[in-house]
Amino acid sequence: MNEQILDEVVARRFWLGQLSPEEQGRIEELAFDDPKWFAFLQAAEDDLIDEFVYDDLSSEERTLFEKNFLEKQPKELREDVEVARAMRAYFEQDPAVQPTLWARFRKWFNFGPQLLPVVIKALLIIGAAAIGLVTLIPRIIVPGLNPGYQVQQQQPPALPSPTSAPTETPAQPSPSPVHKDNQNAPPVPPRRPSYALLLPGVLPRGGERAQSVSIRPGRPTDLGLLLFTNTRRNYQATLEKLPLVGQPIQTWSNLTPRKSRDGNVIHVRVSPDLLKSNQTYRIVLKGVAANGNLERVDNYQFKPK
């Protein structure tokens, strides 16, 4: 069979029902005959589903897709579209998926290996020229200027010494211990957390009791605790290590659920040093009842990986 009959355009038309029955049949035969073409056709189908889910189809294509794909396919096959929707939601919700600043920088300056040395040299020359200009310009403008005096002028007003009582400077926010030690250190941007949605008390048959949660070294982990009923004023969550030994690791109070695509979700953030891979943890969720008492609502077991 002539393999030329199948390319991306034809594959697309195949899924949109734009081919004649004879052409359609030839492609079905080709795809059944050769795994390569079967995969090719599946890739085209997946692309089309993606474009549908991301609203990237033209209005004509969208109509054809709905008419020929969604309506004619067995109901179960539409699960593919739903899985694609879930993937879209995952990638759009998960903050860890967003590219880091370094990744963005790298993408913007994505030079090939041949250009890179030239770019580095150019940056060095520009940097040297800038430093030269900064030191020379004041001398050119004010030839008699004393450089020492200028430096003194640029210094910020003295901060209260660490021994000063906070009440002496009420306008200044109380610095954190880290800032006390490193007054002049630049602030470190927080690393984007990983995210996982936890379901209460899920026990997949034959599977592991704890949900596995992807954690990233050095990053906090945001956990979403899915609520099936939201009947309490607010909630308290306690992180425990299993098997239970000693005190709870962390407790969060006054938690309120937020509405999301997944339903009512309570969000908690766990510091990177609190979770260890392959250790099982449990979050016990308690709700504050109308009389103010804490009542157990559910528990969420998970295992970081």
Binding site: G25, E28, E29, A31, F32, D33, P35, F38, A39, Q42, A43, D46, D50, Y54, P74, E76, L77, E79, D80, E82, V83, A86, M87, R88, A89, Y90, F91, E92, D94, V97, Q98, P99, K107, N110, A196, L197, L199, V202, L203, P204, R205, G206, G207, Q211, S212, V213, S214, L226, R261, D262, G263, K305
Partner: protein, 189 residues
């Protein structure tokens, strides 16, 4: 739906008026189907071949008058859809999971289940795969094509190769997600 004796007789007479020759052709077609399903990495090629033959027999009364050409070709066309259904797990063979039906009363929770399962499956990917799929599908809409080109450039592969890589991971994710959904449905979640 089971293949009835009437449907099977009609199928044989369509293959050839002479019953003996029809039988020989039937065996040849079935062998061809089994061979192709096996080539497509199906672990139960005989089972899928029989499913394809059943479907042809059921569909035959509708197409028999207008069909032109070798009957074998029609079997292959039907077999393509059987194969596709198999890979999307809508055909439940004994080798897979005969009880993996989705109870209707659980359908309200499908969104949560899907989301949970996807999270689980993402955690099962190795870091390289996860990074690739996140970069391939993640980020802002509208810049996806450019980002994918850049990703292909960084990995030093063609766009088509990147697409195949992403497709493979996506296939695993899809399968894993569906398996997970089926398991949760079974556990009466």
């Amino acid at each position: 739906m089971e293949l009835t004796p009437e449907n099977f007789d009609l199928l044989l007479s369509w293959l050839h008026p002479d019953p003996e020759e029809a039988g020989r052709r039937y065996v040849k077609i079935r062998a061809g189907l089994v061979r192709n399903f096996a080539r497509q990495s199906v672990p139960v090629p005989e089972e899928l071949a029989d499913i394809a033959i059943d479907r042809v027999a059921q569909k035959l009364p509708e197409i028999i008058d207008n069909w032109e050409g070798e009957p074998e070709r029609y079997f292959y066309r039907v077999a393509y859809w059987v194969l596709r259904e198999y890979w999307t797990r809508t055909i439940i063979t004994e080798e897979l999971d005969p009880d993996a039906q989705i109870p209707t009363e659980k359908k309200d929770n499908r969104k949560e289940i899907r989301s949970y399962c996807l999270n689980q499956c993402m955690a099962c990917l190795n870091p390289k795969q996860r990074d690739l799929i996140e970069e391939y599908y993640g980020g802002e809409r509208g810049t996806r094509i450019r980002r994918r080109k850049e990703l292909a450039g960084r990995l030093n592969i063609e766009m088509s190769a990147l697409r195949v890589k992403a497709l493979r991971i996506r296939k695993c994710l899809k399968k894993c997600t569906k398996d997970c959904i089926a398991k949760l449905d079974q556990s009466n979640y």
